[in-house]
């Protein structure tokens, strides 16, 4: 009789949950495939569909492996591993027939949860993981065991101390190769290629990028928060590309200021997003490279949630002199060239030119939208004079290029703007939605920030991207320039927002708690609490206790028989050497008697060994004498013969 899968509700539910957690991370074909296989299995158990044979599932497994290899060229990394694991899990569910399959499936389940936990520690995933984890253990307990839940709970309680010890003391191992997200990771990530539409594409995603605590800085409103990611210096008209940025010279005196903290989600990139006016960044693990134009990079790609502390200087001024390349532009043509020529001719002073640029964007009816249509790289004319629809990147790109054309050094900065303030946790949450691009021009001997979006859609900056893009297109169009306007919010939505804030805050605390105890905190904790000597002592004691427990555990239970057996084996080996081997069918005690007859001077110790054997192996009571001593005695006595 085959073991049914879906009738074991706890197992089935746990496994489904584990699979679902992974399924949201992978390409859809494998998710669909997996759940189709599960449905098939369900049908075969419930409605008597014909199940797939083991041979078929075996072939499918191989095909799956080949497909993954073909698609990703590797099995290492998050996505290929997820894909293969998920498909394999589903096929193994189809194979589920006996106890062996059960064990294997549970093992796969554990792997699924662990892999998920390896990449994502969000509290949303921790709870289902815990459920699955317990479900798997539950299904491993024998069916007949009374009070399985209680038993499991007891085991859990017993394991708590060890969990705590491991959490605080176990070294955090980082395996970059295992953490890489794979080459074709589908998620939109921050990039410093500002092709038209690139930022808009980013802004369509609600995925969180980082959380920041800025309560010590004087910045209070979303409007003031410009998170620099990268600076683009290579203009191609509407789109910009990055330029090689040099290292910043290290300042001798550390300027005064306040600190803010950022917890960055894993990006597999080096970008560290910092506010305008950031002097210095300290990474909790690893080091930071400060670059010119106020940028910071981590030395290694960030595969884990990373916390960094940054020093904010409210009086920061970037006086780095512009270079030749800050004036580079592509060839302009048509009405754009005409406009540039006219301004150049009419307004020789830079101040006037800057004013004219502002007038161009503020007054000629531009429309701020996420869906401006497609522009090509140097489609300035179409954008400025015909369509006039664009996203921040278009405004920034166009402004930068025009400024350069007017001989004002300019560069485009990409990053995030604003964020969503969480009143519960007093932190700002910045998502891809907040992606933004703005311009910096070198004017009056310093780099000044210009945000063309501020003229086109100030509301976006005032209420933040999340609220702004939640508005309808009409509202966006109608109120974009009306900064006093506030969208109407119904009270139940407010409640919902509160809930979201609360859960998000909880999640933040959880993540922070986990990361806080990461390597460095762990290290500093140990260093603070203990000096080297006591630490060594504690480790030695704990090690000794663990070792004794292990030895006791390994030898316990077997102790009673194995000891006497070993003694007898020693005697046997000795007898063999002295040409008195034990016949196979000779009972041990009879053999000892025979030896005693042959070697009368050994009779005492042989007698004791016999008694030892009798008591431990036959009577199954502990030997009353000292068996170690007996062993020694035998060794000395036997060597005399």
């Amino acid at each position: 009789m085959d073991k049914p899968f879906f009738s074991q509700k706890v197992l089935a539910l746990s496994f489904l949950m584990a699979m679902s957690m992974v399924a949201v991370e992978v390409v859809s074909w494998v998710s669909i495939f997996s759940f189709a296989v599960l449905l098939w299995k369900f049908g075969s158990e419930r409605w008597g569909w014909k199940p797939l044979g083991r041979r078929t599932t075996g072939v499918l497994s191989v095909l799956l492996l080949l497909q993954v290899l073909f698609e990703y060229r590797t099995l290492v990394g998050q996505e290929p591993a997820y894909t293969f694991l998920l498909g394999l899990s589903a096929l193994r569910v189809m194979d589920y027939r006996n106890e062996r399959d059960h064990r294997f499936l549970v093992m796969l389940g554990f792997v699924l949860i662990s892999v998920k936990a390896l990449f994502n520690l969000d509290i949303y995933w921790v709870l289902p993981s815990i459920f699955s984890f317990f479900g798997f253990w539950f299904s491993l307990l024998p069916q007949g065991l009374p009070g399985r839940g209680r038993f499991l709970f007891r085991i859990f309680l017993l394991s708590l101390p060890l969990m705590a010890v491991l959490f605080f003391a176990f070294p955090r191992v980082v395996m970059p190769w295992a953490m890489s997200r794979g080459s074709t990771y589908g998620e939109i990530g921050f990039s410093d290629q500002m092709n038209p539409g690139k930022v808009a594409e980013l802004a369509g995603s609600t995925v969180m990028v980082f959380r920041a605590r800025i309560d010590d800085t004087p910045l209070k409103t979303s409007e003031e928060l410009y998170w620099r990611g990268s600076v683009l210096g290579n203009s191609r008209g509407l789109s910009w590309r990055p330029q090689r940025t040099n290292l910043k010279a290290v300042k001798e005196d550390v300027p005064k200021g306040s600190f803010y903290e950022v917890a960055l989600e894993p990006t597999s990139q080096n970008y560290l997003f910092t506010l305008n006016g950031t002097e210095n960044v300290e990474l909790e693990t690893g080091s930071v490279i400060p670059l010119q134009s106020g940028l910071f990079r981590a030395t290694r790609p960030l595969f884990n949630t990373t916390v960094y502390r940054a020093l904010f200087n409210p009086n920061y001024i970037d006086q780095e002199l512009p270079t030749e390349s800050d004036l580079q532009i592509p060839t302009l043509s048509g009405r754009v060239a005409e406009w540039v020529e006219r301004i150049k001719r009419e307004y020789p002073k830079p101040e006037e030119r800057v004013e004219e640029l502002k007038n161009l964007f503020a007054e000629t009816g531009f429309f701020y939208t996420l869906n401006p249509g497609v522009y090509s790289a140097n489609d300035l004319e179409e954008f400025l004079f015909d369509r006039k629809r664009g996203f921040c990147e278009h405004f920034a790109g166009a402004y930068g290029t025009l400024a350069r054309a007017l001989e004002i050094p300019a560069r485009v900065v990409v990053g995030y703007q604003g964020g969503l303030y969480n009143p519960w946790g007093d932190f700002w949450k910045v998502a891809h939605k907040d992606a933004h691009a703005w311009v910096e021009i070198f004017h009056n001997g310093q780099w000044m920030q210009i945000d063309p979006t501020r003229w086109v859609a100030p509301l976006r900056l005032v209420i933040g991207a999340t609220s702004f893009f939640a508005l309808s297109e009409e509202d966006q169009r109608a109120f974009a320039r009306d900064i006093s306007w506030k969208p109407q919010v119904s009270s139940d939505l407010l409640l919902w927002d509160q809930m979201t804030f609360w859960i998000d805050d909880l999640n933040y605390r959880w993540t922070y708690f986990l990361i806080d105890f990461d390597r460095s905190a762990q290290k500093s904790l140990l260093q603070e609490v203990l000096n080297d000597k006591t630490r060594f002592l504690i480790f030695a004691i704990v090690g000794a206790i663990l070792l004794t427990l292990l030895v006791r555990f390994l030898s316990f239970g077997r102790e009673s028989t194995s000891e006497s057996k070993r003694l007898l084996q020693m005697v046997e080996a000795w007898g063999k050497k002295h040409h008195v081997p034990r016949n196979v069918s000779e009972p041990p005690l009879t053999y000892l008697k025979r030896l005693e007859d042959k070697y009368p001077n050994l009779s005492q110790v042989l007698d004791d060994i016999g008694r030892h054997y009798d008591q431990q192996s036959y009577r199954q009571t502990p030997y009353l004498g000292d068996s170690k001593k007996l062993e020694q005695l035998w060794k000395t006595e036997a060597s005399k013969v």
């Binding site: 028989t561 057996k565 196979v584 069918s585 000779e586 005690l589 192996s617 009577r619 199954q620």
Partner: protein
Amino acid sequence: MKEKFHDLISQASQVVLDKDTEIRLAMTCLLAGGHLLIEDLPGVGKTTLVQALGKLTGLRTTRIQFTIDLLPADVLGGQVYHPQDQKFVFHQGPLFSQLVMADELNRASPRTQSALLQAMEEGEISVDGVTWKLPKPFYVIATQNPHQQTGTFPLPESQLDRFLMSLELHHASKNTEIKIFQGQDPRQLMQNLKPVLTEAEITKALQSVDEVKVSSVVASYIGELLERSRRSGFSGQSLSTRAGMALVRASKAWAYLEGRDYLRAEDVQAVLIPVIGHRIGGNHGIKKGREWALVLKNETPVPL
């Protein structure tokens, strides 16, 4: 307690000379609560041994001499019409006893044999639709002639299985025989024997035997024995699980007589041949079976 049994054994060996091991095995068999089969030629002391045991244990003893014309009713008893009461009354046969000596069992017809053997297995008999319980404890010690002798009906294997042990007595040695010739007539000696045990003591002993511990080493040794008897190279019949259980029971009784409450491999070996000899012989007879049992014993390794 066990001293009484030793006393019993030593008294019995004064009547049946030079058969100490056999007497002890017979006693073991009784202690294990099993039935005993003694096979040998006529005149080697089978009946004397059984009679001595009967006397010494104090069990109610009857003797049935089996012949070819003996009918089941002669063994079990039957309904007899009482004219005074005008009804049938059951007259118990010789089987209603505690220790039944079934002399020359294989001379009886199979029908009679099976009547006896069924009673041995179930501890009760059914006559004309009425079931009668046999007294307890109930032992059958059967003797039989080697079945090559003329005029015998060999017991089928399934019925041989009902006996816990089988013994051979062999001819007495020359010296023993000389002693026998010079000494008193065993029949007279038997008259002087007095019961050593009470029924309660026997019941208690049976219980103690049950409580003898079997360690995993010994259990695995017995398992190994059974397993080897089933291998293709082995000449005898393969041993059943019931045979294994019988072996455990007999070994326990042996250990009890040794004064222990746990088993040793030695106990198993001591009772091995008597317990399995008649089970693995098949139609080659018990003698051949005992030879094979010895082979099995010598080839099976005793685990440490």
